[in-house]
């Protein structure tokens, strides 16, 4: 199988082209630095080709960690024997040809030096066509001595021609400039890119005019700030209001499934297991998946529209106060969906110091694994009512408040640490490309949200199943579910009860919190199993109703929320931090530090709420 290497600058549409070539669903977004690792898959149209997608780089002379990874991987791939690489496809944004050609000329030289064939894919040709423009592909091809193919990764136009080229035989590029000239004088190379763009590229700044008028609104000191807050407000309202019918649907499906399945079992341990552990434990978790779907959808909308880069600019100045940068905004927002992609996205921050501070903030971002916990406790304590003529839901408002608490906590931690951190000299300045505004593709958004929700279930589902199984067995034995308090779990729970008693929590919540150190969302499943065993006749009813009936106080509920907002329980996040920081020191510090912080702050909130309510 021959390899096809896909390289290009950030926002050139390279990953979308990769998805088009392979049929994969690699994450794409209208923001630089979304691809942070190489990906490989077989070409859909020609199974003899393996397509390898590299992270976007502005230049083969890297200045950030993210670019270092990409350039090193690309250089390593070029060491393959001549003949193994069918083509190096350099993807350039045809609407901004000069920037793409600056990189393409470096790739051209790298391919010439190693003897590998090269093709230039002039992406976003459809946008040029809409403006009655085009690049002079044949002229550019003649000038560079490599094939140039106009393509549209979005519509698929030109992709077949690209594959046909890569499937055939392409001559490696010949030298354009003396290699020492390129090495010594990068300006010479950039002048060539400028000349080529003038000769063969589209004319005028046709795209920028509409963008500028949109930026006047979204980046204005007043309207930009207000619109940013409004968009964030909509994000959190949508999680409850839009997801509610879907959640009701999932709950109804689980109820229907239980009513169909349970009669197949006669009374006994097998029926109790299916009812308590499967429908009680796993089912309680599945109800919250629609919220994760909606969250992913709305964040994807912001990514694809190009708004995310504007939000980073708006946030830059305020974030500087906390020792961060505007580029920290995107990893932190990604952390709202899941901390792991957020940590990877932090590679785009050139400054090691600010990247490290961003690592500290990300685990405190209210990730989707916390959402089931928050959703459950909000359903217990906050009535499902609206105010201001039905425009604002109280539950959505409560969720916004909880999310803001986590975000503020993350900012305060970085502010304090940055004050005490003495290594302040290493600081790379903020420069961010503003991608063009684009209309998001609704099908892609839906597909991404579906797949990410599915990934979430696949990742958390098995853990929740096994924890539910273990919790169920421990709670069921040795008296076959007759008395949960006298079960093995009851004994173990009472052993750890003194730890959580100061927060007003009984042993059942203690067991659920301990289980959540495997994965936060296990908390809901574990409580579902525990309440299922305790109240086997109603174990598939609403878990929130059961918790309300159990008499959990508001002060304890707030303490649980605060604990989950601050504690760093996610093993996957800690492992990712170890990989990125290349040491166990940071993840261990965060695990212990945030654990202690979570317990102490939860206790303070328990006392405060208890005193006033």
């Amino acid at each position: 199988m021959k390899k096809v290497l896909l390289v290009g600058s950030p926002n050139s549409g390279k990953s979308m082209l990769y998805n088009r070539l392979t049929g994969m669903n690699q994450r794409v977004a209208n923001f630089p630095g979304i691809t942070v690792a190489t990906h490989a898959a077989t070409c859909r149209e020609n199974p003899e080709l393996e397509i390898i997608d590299f992270p976007g780089v502005y230049s083969l002379q890297f200045i950030s960690g993210e670019e270092e990874v990409a350039v090193a991987a690309f250089n390593e791939a070029l060491k393959a024997p001549v003949g193994e690489i069918a083509a190096v496809i350099c993807v350039v944004d045809s609407t901004r040809l000069e920037k793409g050609l600056s990189l393409a000329l470096q790739v051209h030289e790298a391919c010439r030096a190693t003897g590998h064939p090269m093709v230039i894919a002039g992406n976003m040709a459809d946008i040029l066509i809409r403006h009655n423009m085009a690049i002079d592909a044949s002229g550019l091809s003649d000038a560079l001595g490599v094939p140039v193919v106009p393509v549209s990764a979005r519509s698929g136009a030109g992709v077949a021609a690209l594959i046909a080229l890569a499937s055939g035989t392409i001559e490696p590029p010949k030298s354009l400039l003396a290699s020492d000239e390129i090495a010594v004088d990068q300006n010479r190379l950039r002048n060539v890119a400028e000349d080529l763009t003038d000769k063969f590229g589209p004319k005028g700044d046709f795209l920028l005019k509409s963008h500028t008028s949109a930026d006047q609104f979204f980046l204005n000191t007043f309207t930009g700030g207000v619109s940013f807050l409004f968009i964030m407000f909509l994000l959190f309202q949508s999680i409850f209001t839009w997801a509610a019918p879907l959640m009701d649907g999932v709950e109804m499906l689980i109820g229907e499934a239980a009513s169909l399945v349970l009669p197949l079992f006669s009374d006994g341990w097998a029926r109790d297991f299916v009812a308590d552990a499967l429908f009680g434990g796993l089912g309680s978790f599945l109800v919250f998946v629609p919220q994760i779907f909606i969250l992913t959808m709305v964040v994807g909308l912001m990514e694809d529209s190009g708004y995310l880069a504007r939000a980073a600019v708006i946030c830059h100045r305020p974030l500087r106060v906390f020792g961060l940068t505007g580029k920290s905004f995107v990893p932190m927002l990604s952390g709202v969906a899941c901390a792991i992609p957020g940590i990877y996205a932090a590679r785009t921050i050139e400054s090691p110091r600010r990247r490290w501070l961003t690592y500290l903030a990300i685990p405190l971002m209210p990730c989707s694994a916390r959402l089931p916990v928050y959703g459950l406790l909000i359903a217990v304590f906050i009535p499902d009512q609206t105010v201001m003529g039905g425009w604002i839901g109280l539950q959505g408002l409560a969720l916004l408040g909880i999310y803001l608490f986590g975000i503020v906590a993350g900012l305060l931690v970085t502010a304090v640490v940055s004050r005490f951190d003495k290594e302040a000299n290493d600081d790379t300045p903020f420069v961010l490309e503003m991608p063009p505004y684009r209309t998001p593709d609704i099908v892609t958004l839906l597909r991404n949200a579906w797949e990410r929700s599915g990934d979430f279930v696949k990742r958390a589902g098995p853990v929740i199943f096994w924890v539910s199984l273990v919790v169920w067995v421990l709670g069921y034995m040795p008296n076959y579910g007759e008395d949960l308090g006298e079960s093995w779990l009851g004994y173990a729970g009472r052993f750890i009860e003194p730890i959580f008693a100061p927060l007003g929590l009984d042993w059942k919540y203690g067991v659920a919190i301990l289980a959540s150190f495997l994965a936060r969302e296990v908390f809901v499943g574990t409580l579902g199993t525990l309440f299922g065993i305790e109240d086997s006749e109603e174990n598939i009813g609403s878990l929130a109703d059961q918790i309300t009936a159990s008499g959990l106080s508001l002060a304890s509920g707030v303490a649980v929320v605060v604990f989950f907002a601050l504690a760093s329980q996610c093993i996957s996040t800690l492992a990712t931090l170890r990989r990125e920081s290349r040491s166990w020191r940071l993840p261990l510090q965060l695990f212990i530090g945030y654990g202690v912080l979570a317990y102490v702050v939860a206790y303070i909130f328990y006392l405060l709420v208890g005193a006033f309510v």
Partner: protein, 83 residues
Amino acid sequence: MINSVPSLWQMSRGKTGVVTGFDDSIKTNIRVRLEELGFREGAIVTCSMAPKLGAPKLYQVANSVYSLEQPLAELVQIQTLTA
């Protein structure tokens, strides 16, 4: 620190200038990156957005728009073309 030559940061919204050089204190890798993005001597740059409160300004160069914060924009020297 910064010399008396006008810098990108001093441009207000709608103003256009030509890049004349860089402050001596700029790091080589940062200078190279800026040049790769289009901010090189002779390039025409327009300040397309200048939010208040010290937020990064937006600069249009070579059919692209970049956001540069104050410490960086102060290192790029320009000659203003429009009043």
